[in-house]
Amino acid sequence: MLMKMTARSGEYALCMRYKCAGIGMDTDKWKLVVDDDQERARRHAAALMALRDCLLSPQGALTATMLPHLTGLRGAIVARSSTGRAPIYSALESDFIPRLCALASDSCSVSSFDTIDEFHAQMRALIDSTRPALPAACHALG
């Protein structure tokens, strides 16, 4: 039996925010629930891996028959190392990468990527070398 099905490709813009300071926290009251640093680090790594894999191996409509897959990936990873929000900017803007790169500072690193392997390498580095911070409220309380 012959079956005809339309196939398409598209360019999608996506913004994600991950707040590692929320790992193991009651985020309503911002109080630490999981005080084991190893466990927090393990959950942090798992969250980053899930974030990486949902881009590198996407799911979606018709996953079983059409297997959505990447043909390219570009963007920027912005990481904030002090209290505050990392900038997040619409990827629908054609110049979103240079605009984000221009916001880099001592407390805000911005690294852009133009290929999936660059993205993978940067995520690998984050998974291997970063640990979840504690929110400002915890520091304030000592």
Partner: protein
């Protein structure tokens, strides 16, 4: 009560980088309508949440909350907002038996061009603290409605371009098909902490009141269920507080 001279206006601009969805109060969860921007109660609750994250629960309760519940809040929507209905998968955890059920729901989402601005009037001694809190707000309403604070200035709100309760709309405002909807606001300036931060098992009181609000946005096009709204001042000749 602080005198007006000891108060100052802070204006925080927010970039809305992706689609967002702040639900119109009273609209069905399974067929939700979206607001073009968050309402006043959402702004106050976001200030509380951001404050707790930065300063801790006790400080917000004792120091910032009396200002948050009493402050004047104005919201200037983005220059252009598109509203479209989307079909989503919804998941509900059932207690008996323990399983997750799935059902399709409809929810409007908004996409904006241009920043939205939140104006709050704060006591001068707390200005720095509120600047920190405004900078910490990362979303409006639900966590997927991302926002990023691009700047904070001292600035008086242009009331002609801010959402207003219908009853306060000046009579001389030109009659146009402004977008209107129900919004929630804190019941009054004496709302108690435990009413907006309910604890499990506690009595839930009605800390919010609903009112009809008018947005300085007019509809310029419609395609099926999608609408495009463009910001337009209520009156052309005046733009002052």
């Amino acid at each position: 009560m602080l005198e007006a001279s000891s108060l100052t206006w802070l204006a925080a601009d927010y970039h809305l980088p992706a689609t967002y969805s702040c639900r119109v109060p009273m609209s069905s969860i399974t067929s939700a309508l979206a607001l073009p921007a968050p309402g006043p109660a959402t702004v106050r609750l976001a200030l509380m949440r951001g404050g707790i994250e930065v300063f801790g629960l006790e400080y917000v309760q004792s120091v910032l909350f009396p200002s948050i519940r009493a402050m004047s809040v104005h919201i200037r929507p983005p220059a252009r907002v598109a509203l479209t209905a989307q079909v989503l998968r919804s998941y509900k955890a059932e207690e008996h038996p323990h399983e997750i059920s799935e059902a399709p729901i409809s929810r409007e989402v908004a996409h904006a061009e241009g920043p939205m601005t939140a104006y709050i009037q704060v006591p001068r001694p707390q200005q720095d603290a509120f600047c920190q809190v405004l900078g910490m707000i990362g979303y409006w309403g639900q966590a997927s409605s991302l926002a990023w604070c691009t700047g904070i200035q001292e600035s008086v709100p242009p009331l002609d371009e801010c959402v207003l309760p219908l009853r306060l709309l000046q009579e001389q405002a030109r009659l146009r098909p402004f977008f209107s909807c129900i919004l929630s606001e804190f019941r009054d300036r004496s709302v108690a902490w435990h009413e907006v931060m309910p604890v499990a098992g506690g009595r839930i009181s009605n800390a919010l009141r609903l009112d009809v609000y008018v947005w300085p946005l007019t509809e310029v096009s419609q395609q099926e269920s999608g609408r495009l709204l463009v910001r337009q001042a209520f009156t052309v000749s005046r733009a002052s507080v």
